[in-house]
Structures are given as structure tokens and as C-alpha cells.
């Protein structure tokens, strides 16, 4: 058990001039499930590999359990990692794969086999102990990889997109299994994904990365309700938040001719701002901003209405959420009304959040 700390940790790959991870400051508490999320190329894998010791730290430091491990090789860090492609050794059986870290630690064969069987039982894999990885399905391989990680009882688990090779349904199931396993073991976990839904459901806290920089870290709800900048606002949530360039005058925004009061926090602001509206902050009603329905996506009870409207003379795409039963039809003309208390405002230039 240990906490993890990145202190101004930086990685600059040779031959590049932009750091893949730029002065990362991040603290993961003991027993916490931390998810690193961000678009492709944002530096998630690099950050994780720096923690594992697989990537040199070019500046700053990495600490595990208060111990500076910046210059220690991976085997001295007491971490276990689950890889995207599982990296199961094709020439070893499931049992031998799971027991591999114990073998490296010099544990006796009988003891290794006993522990491997116990781990396999825990993962529901005891029937497969004698098989080779090539005789397993993707989900089963994933479990073996998990088994290899937990058998050594490391102080930190590292997982790099462990579910991305599974089909959607299995992914949801494994998501729940991983969450339960982590809760049982109580081991500090750093989990990398590019799927924001996975991040929101799994993480105790979520850290959003973009271009190697930490954008925001917080509990999933906090990221959703109070994104600290335009990037986080657009990245977290599905479908994405509507972001419209609008003009703010005297504490109110004109939203396609509609005057939307924005409360006291932004009263000083005037000029160009970005108005952020989650789909549920837009109501389909009988009055408001006129729009034309382009696509309607139904998800059981809810439906997302993708429409286009004129805002400030520009054609803008807007997504609204409605009840599926009352969803308009494609091509229909509708009116969108804003719930001002759910609106977010961002600076048009810096992208930073304005107001509370």
C-alpha cells in the first residue's frame, strides 16, 4: 500500500521538441483509484510508464509511498502493470503466466502453484490453469493479465487501457469486476483510458490530460459539473457539451436572440465568451431559439436531439436531451430553451472557466 506522487514530472522524448508529459503534478492517495484520461497522444501512457520505471524521467520526480523512485529500475518499484495487449507469454500456461512474478522473486514451485490457483479462483479462471494463452478468448486473457498483476500484492497497480481490446458488453462487465477487485484489495491504482465513460465510472478521482499537461483533477461529478476549462468541458460527457461563441453584455448573454441572464459571478465580464451547455441544459420547448432537427438518437428512455441553429449569424450544431417519447422527428423545426442555472462560461481566449 502506498501513495503516488508526481512532482513536476516531465518527459521529453529525444528527437521531439514538445514534452510528452509536461511538469505533471499529481497526487494519488493510498488505496485510491485514479484514472488518467485524455485524447490520443495526450501523454497518458507516457505518464504511466514513468511511474513504472519504463521511461526515463527527464525532469521532476516520481514518488511511491514517500520514497523517491525516479531513478530506480522497474523491478525495485514494487508495481504491477496490466498491458493493453496483455503481454502474456505464449509459451507459458495460464498458471505459469500468473505465477511469473513469483518465479522471478524466487518463490518455490509448489507455493507458486498454490498461489496461482488461488488467484485464478478469485478471477473465475481455475478451469483454464493448464491452457496456453492462445487457447483463451480476449476476456479470459484479460483476466490472466489481471491475475499476474495481483498475485504479487504490489503497492501500486498500473493499467494501460486494459479493456480496449474487448467488445462493448464484456468491457462493461470487466469494468465492474475491476472496480470490485480494486475495492477488495484496496491497492492504489493508476488506470489509463481514453474512454471518458470508463473514467467516470471507475475513478475515485479522474485526471484529465491534454498535450502532456494536466488540465484538471477531481471526482467525476466535479469534472462534470464544474469543468475548469473549455477542453475538460468538451472532453468529459457524452455527447459532448455544446460550446458556442457568444457575446456577453452586462451579465447576460444573447443566445440566438434570447437573452440569458447569467447571475452575479460573471456580471463584470463583457465581450466574447464561450457558452457551455450540456445536452440536459437545453430544453426542447415551444419558444426559444429556433433550430432544425438533423438527427435523433434514442437510448431507451432518453433521446439526444442533434440540431442546427443560427447563433450570432453562424450556423451552430446543438445537442439537447429529451424524453424519447417526446422526441421530435428529423427535419422538424423546434425551439430550444436554455436553463441559465446550468450554463458554463469560459474565456474566449484562454479557455479558462469564468465565475463559480
Amino acid at each position: 500500500m502506498a501513495d503516488v506522487r508526481y512532482e513536476q514530472a516531465t518527459k521529453l522524448y529525444s528527437g521531439t521538441d514538445v514534452p510528452a508529459v509536461d511538469a505533471l503534478d499529481l497526487e494519488v492517495e493510498d488505496g485510491e483509484f485514479m484514472v488518467l484520461v485524455g485524447p490520443s497522444g495526450s501523454g497518458k501512457t507516457t505518464a504511466l510508464r514513468m511511474l513504472a520505471g519504463l521511461e526515463e524521467v527527464d525532469a521532476g520526480a516520481v514518488l511511491i509511498g514517500g520514497r523517491d523512485v525516479t531513478d530506480l529500475p522497474p523491478k525495485k518499484r514494487d508495481v504491477a502493470m496490466v498491458f493493453q495487449n496483455y503481454a502474456l507469454y505464449p509459451y507459458l500456461t495460464v498458471s505459469q503466466n500468473i505465477a511469473f512474478p513469483l518465479k522471478m522473486a524466487g518463490v518455490k514451485k509448489a507455493e507458486r502453484e498454490r498461489q496461482a490457483a488461488e488467484v485464478a479462483r478469485r478471477l473465475g479462471m481455475e478451469r483454464y490453469l493448464g491452457r496456453k494463452p492462445s487457447q483463451l478468448s480476449g476476456g479470459e486473457r484479460q483476466r490472466v493479465a489481471m491475475g499476474r498483476a495481483i498475485i504479487r500484492q504490489p503497492s501500486v497497480f498500473l493499467m494501460d487501457e486494459p479493456l480496449s481490446n474487448l467488445d462493448a458488453k464484456l468491457r462493461v462487465q470487466m469494468r465492474a469486476d475491476i472496480a470490485a477487485l480494486q475495492r477488495d484489495l484496496g491497492v492504489t491504482t493508476v488506470y489509463v483510458t481514453h474512454d471518458q465513460a470508463e473514467a467516470m465510472t471507475l475513478g475515485h478521482r479522474v485526471a484529465v490530460l491534454d498535450h502532456g499537461r494536466l488540465q484538471q483533477v477531481g471526482e467525476p461529478r466535479e469534472l462534470y459539473d464544474r469543468p475548469t476549462n473549455r477542453f475538460v468541458a468538451g472532453f468529459i460527457g457524452s455527447p459532448a457539451m455544446n460550446l458556442c461563441d457568444v457575446t456577453c453584455e452586462h451579465g447576460a448573454v444573447s443566445f440566438g436572440g434570447e437573452r440569458v441572464e447569467l447571475g452575479p459571478a460573471v456580471a463584470n465580464g463583457s465581450g466574447a465568451v464561450v457558452l457551455g451547455l450540456r445536452p440536459e441544459a437545453l430544453e426542447v420547448g415551444l419558444e426559444g431559439l429556433p433550430a432544425r432537427v438533423e438527427v435523433v438518437e434514442e437510448f431507451g428512455a432518453d433521446a439526444f436531439v442533434f440540431s442546427s441553429a443560427q447563433i450570432g449569424g453562424e450556423e451552430t450544431r446543438l445537442v439537447a436531451r429529451t424524453e424519447a417519447r417526446r422526441a421530435p422527428a428529423q427535419g422538424e423545426r423546434i425551439f430550444l430553451r436554455v436553463k441559465p442555472e446550468e450554463a458554463h462560461l469560459f474565456d474566449a481566449e484562454t479557455g479558462q472557466r469564468l465565475g463559480a
Binding site: K75, M81, A87, P101, M104, R152
Partner: protein
């Protein structure tokens, strides 16, 4: 209620007669060609085998079938020449050289393929240059060196260099190691392996076909090597290997073709047996080198 499903009667369609005739003729043509090639390749071996069973007088005649069959030729080989000594020398050369070559080339190839260090590109370039250097270029300086070490006349000058890596093997193994997914190595690192341990366990296991091919190439090459043993041990019959002994066999007494052929057969036998034993690894390795090399 479970419905009883009748087994599906699959009536295999027969291709039309014209198609069948074409396929048949094609098969006949293919096989005739292959059989002809096989006979052409086998003929010398069969000739050797038959001659090795003849009396010396018959061996000099035009008849092809041995009459009477003299199995004792194979016994005579051992009594008329120090055949055992040559065999042991050859074994010493091949085994020691092959072990040394594999043990020294695998780590070098791994370092060139997988570790990041200053000078790696230059080192690889040097390996490539060594690979392209014809052996005749280095023979004289090497001979002088071994002479100064007082090892000329023994087999050490042909064995020891293999313990310092072989350019071709390093190159071949490096190309193969490059194809091993990095994740395997990373997983091993996280699970407690140092680099040497990774080479000894994970890499060796994943690269088994390539390593087997390298070992086999080396064994066959050293087993058949004539030039270098002649150069260094030519003056000292005590250290001769089979290939040398075989060439000297004729001049030892008077030329005895039947015994020469029997000896030749005995020399070839281990290579052939080894090839059949390791056929899969060998063919795999050869295709590997074909694809990657």
C-alpha cells in the same frame, strides 16, 4: 419439445470431368518434376552408399551394384586411420564453437535490438561491415596473432573467435529480436527481471526458432569447415578434424575408394540425422532469414 433433427446429408459435388482431368494432369506434371529433381539430388548419395559397400577392385570397375556386399569397410575405416580422433576433434570444434557463438551473439544482438545506448548505431554498422568482410582479408593478420600466442597447431584458433560473437548470427538474431513486441519485455521488467534475466528467459524462449537456426548454421558450418582447420592444424595430424582426415584418407596408403566412400558416409551421417531431428526449427529458421534478412 425437442425436435429431432435429422443429420444433414451433405452430397459432395463432384467437379466436372474436364476440371478433374486438368487437375490430374497438373498433379502428374508436378510430381514428375519433383521426383526427377529428387533423384538428381539423391544420385551422388546413392553412388557413395553403393561404392562404400564394394571391394576395392569392384569400386574401380564399371559395375554399380556391390557384389559381394562388404560391411567390413565401415570397420576398416576405424582401423586404417585415426577416425575416432578426427571425429572427437570435429565434435570438440563444432560443439564448443556453437555454444560460444550462441552465448556471445544473443546478448549482443539483444543490446543492438532492444537497449538504448550511445553508439548503438555505430556498433551495428561495425557488425554489418564485419559481415561483409571476406574472410580471406583477415586470415593473414589473424594467423600472425595466433602464432604469437603459440596456438597454431591446435584447434583453439578456430574455436575461440566464436566466443566473441559472429557477425552473421548477431545480425540475424537482431532482426528477429526487433520483431518481439516491446510489451513482453516491459512486462518482464515490471515483474522483476533485469535485462540479463530478460535475455535468458523471455527473449530466449520467444526467439527459440531463430536461436535454433543460428546454432544449426554454426554447427553445420564448423562440422564441414575445411579451410580454417587446414590452415591452423595442417601440420599437426593429432588435431585434424574429419574434413581434413577425409581428404588425407586417400593418400594415407594407396587410394582405396571403397574405404574413402565409407568414411564419407560416416561423416555425412551425423549432419543428416541432425537435420532430420531439427528439421522443423531449421526450416522455420531458414524461412525466417529469408523474410527478415
Amino acid at each position: 419439445m425437442s425436435a429431432v433433427t435429422a443429420p444433414v446429408a451433405l452430397v459432395r459435388r463432384r467437379p466436372p470431368a474436364s476440371v478433374r482431368r486438368k487437375r490430374f494432369l497438373l498433379a502428374v506434371a508436378n510430381h514428375s518434376l519433383l521426383i526427377a529433381a529428387a533423384v538428381a539430388f539423391l544420385a551422388p548419395f546413392i553412388f557413395i552408399l553403393l561404392t562404400s559397400l564394394m571391394t576395392n577392385n569392384q569400386a574401380l570397375s564399371t559395375s554399380l551394384w556391390p557384389h559381394p556386399i562388404r560391411w567390413s569397410n565401415f570397420y576398416d575405416v576405424f582401423t586404417k586411420a585415426p577416425f575416432w580422433r578426427w571425429a572427437l576433434n570435429t565434435l570438440q570444434y563444432s560443439v564448443l564453437a556453437t555454444i560460444g557463438l550462441v552465448l556471445s551473439s544473443v546478448p549482443v544482438a539483444y543490446a543492438l535490438a532492444r537497449l538504448r545506448w550511445r553508439g548503438r548505431q555505430v556498433s551495428f554498422l561495425i557488425v554489418l561491415i564485419a559481415l561483409m568482410l571476406p574472410p580471406q582479408v583477415t586470415v593473414v593478420p589473424l594467423y600472425v596473432m595466433w602464432a604469437k600466442l603459440h596456438l597454431v597447431g591446435t584447434l583453439w584458433p578456430v574455436i575461440l573467435p566464436n566466443w566473441f560473437g559472429d557477425a552473421f548470427s548477431i545480425f540475424l538474431l537482431r532482426q528477429f529480436f526487433l520483431t518481439i513486441p516491446e510489451e513482453y519485455l516491459d512486462a518482464a521488467r515490471v515483474d522483476g527481471c533485469g535485462e540479463l534475466r530478460i535475455v535468458a528467459t523471455v527473449v530466449t524462449r520467444l526467439a527459440k526458432p531463430a536461436i535454433a537456426a543460428v546454432a544449426l548454421f554454426s554447427f553445420l558450418y564448423t562440422f564441414n569447415d575445411f579451410f580454417l582447420p587446414l590452415l591452423y592444424t595442417g601440420e599437426n595430424p593429432h588435431h585434424w578434424v574429419l574434413s581434413l582426415g577425409l581428404s588425407e584418407f586417400r593418400s594415407l596408403h594407396q587410394v582405396q575408394w571403397n574405404l574413402t566412400m565409407a568414411a564419407t558416409l560416416l561423416v555425412m551421417a551425423p549432419v543428416i540425422v541432425l537435420f532430420f531431428l531439427a528439421q522443423r526449427a531449421f526450416v522455420e529458421g531458414v524461412t525466417l532469414t529469408g523474410v527478415k534478412g
